[in-house]
Amino acid sequence: MSLLKKATFTDLLKGMKITLKTMFKPTVTVHYPFEKVPPRKRFRGIHALKLNPDGSYRCEACYLCAEMCPSNVIDMEMTEGKDGKKELVDFTVDLTRCLFCGLCVEACPRDAIVMTDIYEFSQYSIDKLILHKEDLLELGRYYQKRQRERK
């Protein structure tokens, strides 16, 4: 019986039948640059810094996120503000090293640093991958708008 099966190539023909059938099924391809898969709700994309409703910085330059980061991505500069509090001068995120673990977000006591759903951030030059304060705040505005939309 098994010999007969081998001699008539039953198993092989079965496989070929399946591939032939599949050929006429609709494809499942997402044509990427023209179509995109929407990212999941908790997707960890590039970082953003949130602003308070009154427009002041939410981040108080406590360095916790920088401490927490396993690959030393985050760095910041600050001065003493008018009211004696620390104030952010620059906040850099080096995307070339970031592994998108989200530990910085977990660490932040003020919920200032967050991660957006943006995953397309390729650049032609490497220094464009180092995000500064302005970029991050811009992203923060995008994030907050999006958050509101989602609600």
């Binding site: 092989l12 496989g15 070929m16 399946i18 591939t19 032939l20 599949t22 609709p26 499942v28």
Partner: protein, 319 residues
């Protein structure tokens, strides 16, 4: 004379022009068999993809690795196209017969036998371990498939009583298609044909997963393309031969009144076998090296020898 020359021009032109669309179709068919859609971006449904590929390949830097055997390295890819085109020149397509030859079938066999040197020499001359192994595999594979293929062909030749393609088709027009007489030879020839052009599941010399790219690991640009030209021309030629030997070639309804229809029939039949190679590629994983040699030497070789006896008995009765 002029007629032969025109036919030759037609056949060589056809072979060279047909290759890019075939690569496109292959990618489409493979894609759809895996529920992908294949090339889509260049032109509507990606039809211009082969042209984009050609432009890319022409403008690629042509690298000859250090330590390579320059002469053989340059010689190997051109040899692949050369042998394939030589084989193509003797195969008649309908009434278009460039080089009418008494031993046409044997000539195709001989050319296909020496076409393996392209792979072998490419593997040797690249000065690369992976390519070298691929070259060895190509040599072992030719020893595996050549004999069963030859014996399968001998069986049909005994039945038809000629090596001449025109005679073979004439025989089939009076007696019926060859596949009804020689199904075993057909199956063996089909499998050996896949092994001969090194297509999956017998793409051992290429072996993308183990040997990087096999014999063409070190090739780039037009030399790389030349290997593919050779491979696809070989596929077309052997598909034409299969349809000649087992499916009556250009015979079909109304074909004797309108010879052009015969050409069409022949190309359609060959087209099916070209499709079959895509189909096999989408379906089966590669055979392991020892498995390949085992089935060639232990199953198909005895079977093909046995088949010669069957053919002899048939030839006695049918005449």
């Amino acid at each position: 004379m002029i007629e032969h020359f025109l036919s030759l021009l037609f056949i060589v032109g056809l072979m060279l022009v047909a290759v890019p669309p075939i690569t496109y179709l292959e990618r489409k068919v493979l894609g759809h068999m895996q529920q992908r859609s294949g090339p889509m971006v260049v032109g509507p449904h990606g039809v211009l993809q082969p042209i984009a590929d050609a432009i890319k390949l022409i403008f690629k830097e042509d690298v000859i690795p250090r330590g390579a055997d320059k002469l053989l390295f340059v010689f190997a890819p051109s040899f692949s196209v050369f042998a394939a085109l030589l084989a193509a020149s003797v195969v008649p397509i309908g009434f278009i017969n460039a080089v009418p030859m008494k031993s046409g079938l044997l000539f195709v066999m001989a050319m296909s036998a020496i076409s393996i040197y392209a792979f072998f020499l490419a593997g040797y001359s690249s000065n690369d371990k992976y390519s070298f192994l691929a070259g060895m595999r190509a040599a072992a594979q030719v020893l595996g498939y050549e004999l069963p293929m030859g014996f399968a062909l001998m069986a049909v030749v005994i039945l038809f009583g000629s090596f001449d393609f025109n005679e073979i088709v004439k025989w089939q027009q009076t007696h019926g298609w060859g596949i009804f007489y020689q199904p075993i030879a057909f199956v063996i020839f089909l499998i050996m044909m896949v092994a001969e052009v090194c297509r999956p599941p017998f793409d051992l010399p290429e072996g993308e997963s183990e040997l990087v790219g096999g014999f063409h690991t070190e090739y780039s640009g037009m030399r790389f393309a030349a290997f593919f030209f050779g491979e696809y021309i070989n596929i077309i030629v052997l598909s034409l031969v299969v349809s000649l030997l087992f499916f009556g070639g250009w015979s079909g309804p109304l074909a004797d009144k309108h010879p052009v229809l015969g050409v069409l029939y022949h190309l359609l039949k060959a087209g099916f076998f070209i499709f079959l190679t895509f189909w096999l590629r989408a379906t089966f994983p590669r055979y392991r090296f020892d498995q390949m040699l085992n089935i060639m030497w232990k199953i198909f070789l005895p079977l093909s020898i046995l088949n010669i006896f069957i053919a002899a008995v048939e030839a006695l009765f049918v005449g």
